[in-house]
Symmetry: C2
Subunit: 332 residues, 2 copies
């Protein structure tokens, strides 16, 4: 599992939830699909490059702005699970921002435009009843609804990209935002730069009635998950799955079948979830990647899913695609 | 269909084959799968960051280097279809390169290390019997075998990334290559940068016994293909397919089913090939994106595939994932 730049977590890493826990581990929602997959805004991507369009939308009546400070989203802390995004008016923007521009997310069914903005790092003090919280914690605690999680993922991926791409990778000059946040332009070399989305192969490997799961040293204690890694240049998603599993566990994989994809905004991954069939059994661990990997019987996995595994081992939480891949393969 | 930086072609664009045509349009191979999908090298990605590993591999006896000049690969022009990569010895490297480092591709079953190198733009004169050719033409003309096409795609995507990422997007300082070509490091801000792979949703839309195909003004005359576009931040591959089809053609799409993925090295896309079911029929063209889009009966598509469509319309060539998506859905 290749790590794309510290301090970003790796795919499937659930070890570092925020220290701000609002609802004390209470799993408020039960998810029938991974988090961050829903988005009900029209992105209007065919219009974003039209002259004047961006400021017209930004200044339209009713425009709402979600605000991030560092990688944390401002949300209502509310009474248990009350939550919701702390939407700001476009009139609040000048006071919130420093050196960055808002990005367009989309328009809802009522014609309300949604934007996101990055406040200067750690200088934003949450208003009363609000809290700045990382998206993993927001999702785990069920603080905002599924559609808002989708647009929060979109916002986080875009804003992180802007923060890390203020300069031109081609010539080193400063760049400026364009296309409502979906492009950066270098006026020195005329280079155009587009948001990054990094495809990740994540795969549940079975052999008969057993499944291969592993854990990295970064995982929460007792948690085992499916193996994953970034798709490399010149590689199919299926071959990336085979390569990663072999490198991390020594297991050879034959057939690979795609199941579903999920945006995973830490910072901007596209998880490509698959099922694969092992054609070998003996595990050879790569200690740089994994702390442990084991074959689990389906019965053990059912116990993990139900929270009564004899060793107290657990599956990843249901915000992750790994959770749903595992359950889907076992038809749970 | 969003274009990622001129002058790179867009997904599914076959309008600009090289002016150097060796085998005069002869389609030498018939492909049972899209080009660029095979790779038979072990990438050894768990080892690439070990100290001293890169130069040990580069200097090992028998090491072979594929050479690019601009976006063109040096290949044997050979007698018809003879072809093959113009592999150079590692001893040739100093004379070939300027300001870039070679990148590691992988090791073959005989233990031979394979690298690729980018020669200074347009300064490399092909040796007798060699020619510098873009990968689309190399693939269309069947000049190198399927496994070599796979590593050529890997090489092209990686080298293009290095050429366009000599500076740190975070602070603007010069960066240096690390991890045998799979990372760039900024010594000024300690930023780490990884190769880009841009996921593209490409989808064959059907309604009953008809399929939606479109053409951009950039396409070769008479060619129609499946619609495609880049997956955006915070979006599933399936939703990206639905969004692109609606934006370009006005057609609403319901169920979407993944079929296969393909690396498409122009410059570094991962094509996610899908089939989708339309839930509307009336086409509203986005003239900025498409020149035309139509519903084709399956009979018409069979005629296009067999080269006897009454209007002379054609499917994309068999190096493309579009070609195979279309044929697979019709069970051809």
């Amino acid at each position: 599992m290749q790590v794309h730049g510290t301090p970003e977590p790796v795919p499937g890493d659930f070890s570092q939830p925020s220290h701000t826990t609002i609802s004390k581990g209470l799993n408020i929602v039960t998810r029938t699909q991974p988090a961050f997959m829903d988005g009900n805004l029209d992105r209007l991507s065919g219009h974003r490059s039209e002259p004047g369009w961006f400021s017209e939308k930004l200044n339209a009546p009713g425009t709402r702005v979600a605000v991030f400070t560092a990688d944390k989203l401002m949300v209502h802390s509310g009474p248990k699970g009350g939550g919701g995004i702390d939407w700001r008016s476009n009139r609040d923007l000048p006071a919130l921002m420093e050196g960055t521009e808002p990005v367009f997310l989309g328009v809802d069914g009522d014609g309300i435009n949604h934007f996101a903005a990055q406040a200067a790092d750690n200088e934003l003090v949450p208003a009363d009843g609000m809290v700045a919280l990382d998206l993993r914690s927001v999702a785990l605690q069920g603080l905002i609804d599924s559609a808002d999680l989708g647009l929060a993922a979109q916002a986080r991926a875009l804003l992180h990209w802007h923060v890390r791409h203020r300069f031109c990778s081609n010539c080193g000059a400063a760049t400026r935002q364009d296309d409502a946040g979906y492009k950066r332009v270098c006026d020195t070399c005329s280079g155009e730069h587009f948001p990054r989305t990094d495809p990740v192969a994540i795969v549940a490997i079975t052999r008969g009635q057993s499944m291969l799961l592993g854990r990295s040293a970064r995982f929460a204690s007792g948690m085992y998950s499916t193996l994953a890694g970034f798709v490399e240049p010149g590689e199919t998603a299926e071959d990336a799955a085979r390569r990663e599993v072999f490198e991390e566990s020594g297991i050879r994989v034959g057939d690979v079948r795609y199941i579903m994809s999920q945006p995973w905004p830490f910072p901007a991954n596209l998880m490509l979830g698959m099922a694969g069939e092992a054609i070998s059994e003996e595990i050879t661990l790569d200690p740089d990647e994994l702390d442990d990997a084991r074959w689990f019987s389906f019965d053990e996995i059912i116990a993990m899913d139900q929270g009564n595994h004899p060793e107290g081992l657990q599956l990843p939480p249901d915000i992750s695609i790994a959770h749903h891949l595992i359950r889907q393969i076992l038809d749970l």
